[in-house]
Symmetry: C2
Subunit: 347 residues, 2 copies
Amino acid sequence: MGIDRYINRIGEWLNGSGENAGIVISSRIRLARNIKGIPFSIFASERDCNEVAKMACFAFSKSSYLANADIIDLRDINDLGRQFLMERHLISIEAAKGQNGLVAIGDKEMISVMVNEEDHLRLQIMGSGLGLLSLWRVISQIDDTLSRNLDYATSLNWGYLTACPTNVGTGMRASVYIHLPALTITNQINKVLKAVSQLGLAIRGIHGEGTESLGNLFQISNQITLGQTEDEIADNIERVTRQIISHEQTAQKNLLEKASKSIEDRIFRAYGILKYSRLISSKETLNLLSQVRLGVNMGYLMIPLSTLNELLIIIQPAHVQKIAGRILGPKARDEKRAEIIRQRLSQ
Amino acid sequence: MGIDRYINRIGEWLNGSGENAGIVISSRIRLARNIKGIPFSIFASERDCNEVAKMACFAFSKSSYLANADIIDLRDINDLGRQFLMERHLISIEAAKGQNGLVAIGDKEMISVMVNEEDHLRLQIMGSGLGLLSLWRVISQIDDTLSRNLDYATSLNWGYLTACPTNVGTGMRASVYIHLPALTITNQINKVLKAVSQLGLAIRGIHGEGTESLGNLFQISNQITLGQTEDEIADNIERVTRQIISHEQTAQKNLLEKASKSIEDRIFRAYGILKYSRLISSKETLNLLSQVRLGVNMGYLMIPLSTLNELLIIIQPAHVQKIAGRILGPKARDEKRAEIIRQRLSQ
C-alpha cells in the first residue's frame, strides 16, 4: 500500500525544534477554501467532486510545495489506513470515517491538502514548536499560488465562503498543541482553561473538538474566523500561548522547589514503567509520556524531544497495527505498543 | 561501633544456595536452654544475669563454632543498633526493644546465641534454602559442646525446661521462610494456610508471631516442642514445606500457561519501578521484590538470588539508616532506600 511508506518516517513537525518545543509540541494552520460555481461537498454530485479533484490536482502541480505531493485517494485505502492518516493529523476524523475525497501530502508531512472534505479544499501546514506567524507566511504563499489556478468562492462582505458558517471569513483555523503537566499537577489548569475561553480561544483535547484531553495535552485554537486578519489571529494565539507557557514554567519551578523528590520519583517511575512494561494501553502511555516529558523539561532525563513527539503518534492503535504489519485486537495492541516503546526508548 | 562492621556484609544464610532456594529463602532452628539453679530471666537479679553471661561466654570459648564469636552486649548499643540486629534476625523483637542481655554472633552470621533473653540461652542457626535436618545436625553438636560446660535445666518428664511452657521439651523452634507469590495471585493461599495449621504447624508473617505477611513471604514453624524428637520436628516441617513448594510450582506453571503476558508485564513493571524509583516504602519494596523473585523463578529475569535475599534485609529502616550513616526520618529513608535498591540492582 502507498501509505506504508509513512510507517517508518516521522513528520517534520515532530522534530522537536522551534520556539518552546519542550512545552509546545506543534503549531498548525488550516485554511478552508471552496471553488466558485461548484456546490459545497455535502450537496455535490460525484461529477462535481471529480471536477474539484481534477482542478485541485492541476493547481497543486503548479505549486513548488505541492508539485511532488503524494496524492492519496481515500477510497483506495481501508479503514486502518484512513485511521493511520488521521493519527498523523493528515486527514480529519470525519475523513477517516470513510468519506470520499483525497489528500495531497507534501514533503515531510509539513503541508497537506484535503480535497472534497467538508470544504472543497482544506490546506494545512504543521510545524514543530510555537510558530504560527511563520507558518502563516508559508501557507499564505501556497494559497496564493493555488488561487491563480482555482477560482475561490469569496464575498466582499464575508471573505472566503465555507460550508460551515463558523469558518467563513479568513477560513483559517490556527492551533497549538501544548503540554501542561505542572499546571495540571498543581490544580491550576481549570483556571487557565477558563481564562483561555474568555479570550475568545478554544482549548480542547488532542484531536480537536469534542475529544478528551489525555496526557496533559491540549489544543488551543481560534474560535473566530471573521473580523480579524490572519496575522491578528496567529499573533493572538501566539501571545496567549506565551502567557500559558510562562504559567506552566512557573508551576514547574514551584514543583521543583516544593516537591522536587516526589516529582523526581514520579518522573523516574513513569520512565521505568515505559522502559519495562510488556502490556500498555495508549491512555496509560500518554500519561506516562507526560511525566517523562516533564522530566526532560526539568532536566532529570535526557531524551530527544523528537523521540517523545514521535511516540505520541506511533503508540496510537492504527500505527501500532501498521508497525506490526497486521490487524491486532486490543490486548495484542497493548503488547506490541509496549514493545515499540521499549525499542524507541532504548535507541 | 562494633556492629557497623556488619553493614556491608551479608549473612551466609542469604546466599541463595541450598534446596529450592528460589522459593525457600532460608531455614532456621532455635533452641531454648536454661541453666540449672538460676532463676528464669524474668525473675533473675542482675547478679544472676551476670553469672549466666559469664558461664555462657566461657562455654562459647570451648566451642569451635563460637570460640571466635563476636560478643555484643545489648546495653552497649542504641535502639538503632538493636533494631539493626533484629532486622538481620540475630536478636528477637523483644530483645530489640531494649532488654539487657548479650548476643554471640558466629562466623558469617550462621550461628548466634542470645543470652539472658526470655531463656538464659537461645541458640540459633540459619541456612539458605530448605535444610532443617542438616542445620539440626550442626546446632545439635554445638549444643552438646555447650552442655559440657553448662548445667542445663532439664526434667526426666519434660525434657528441657523453658521460661514459657510452649517451648518445653525439645526447646526447639524450627522454621522456614518461604515465598509464595503464585499461590497468592491465584487465591489459593488461604487454603494452604489453613491446611498447614491443621498439620500442627504455624504459618506467619516475616518476623514470626503476630507480624504481618508482606511481599508474599511466610514463616512456617512447629507449634509443638514436646512429644516429638528434634529430627521428627525438622523432618515434618521439611515434608510439609516440600508439598507447599510443589503447590507453588504448579500455580506458577498455571500462571505461565494461562496469563503469561500479564504476569510478564507485572514482573517487568515491578523491576522497572525498583530500578528507577526515587522514593519507596519498605512495604512497596517487598511487594515489588516478590514480583521480581517470581520473575527470576519463571526465567524472565536473571538476578542472583543472593541479591534479592540481601535486599529483603537491607531495605529495612535500621539498615537504611546504618547504610546512610545517620538517623533518617520516614521520607529520607524512602529516598535512601530507593538509592540502595537502584545501586544493588545495577551491580
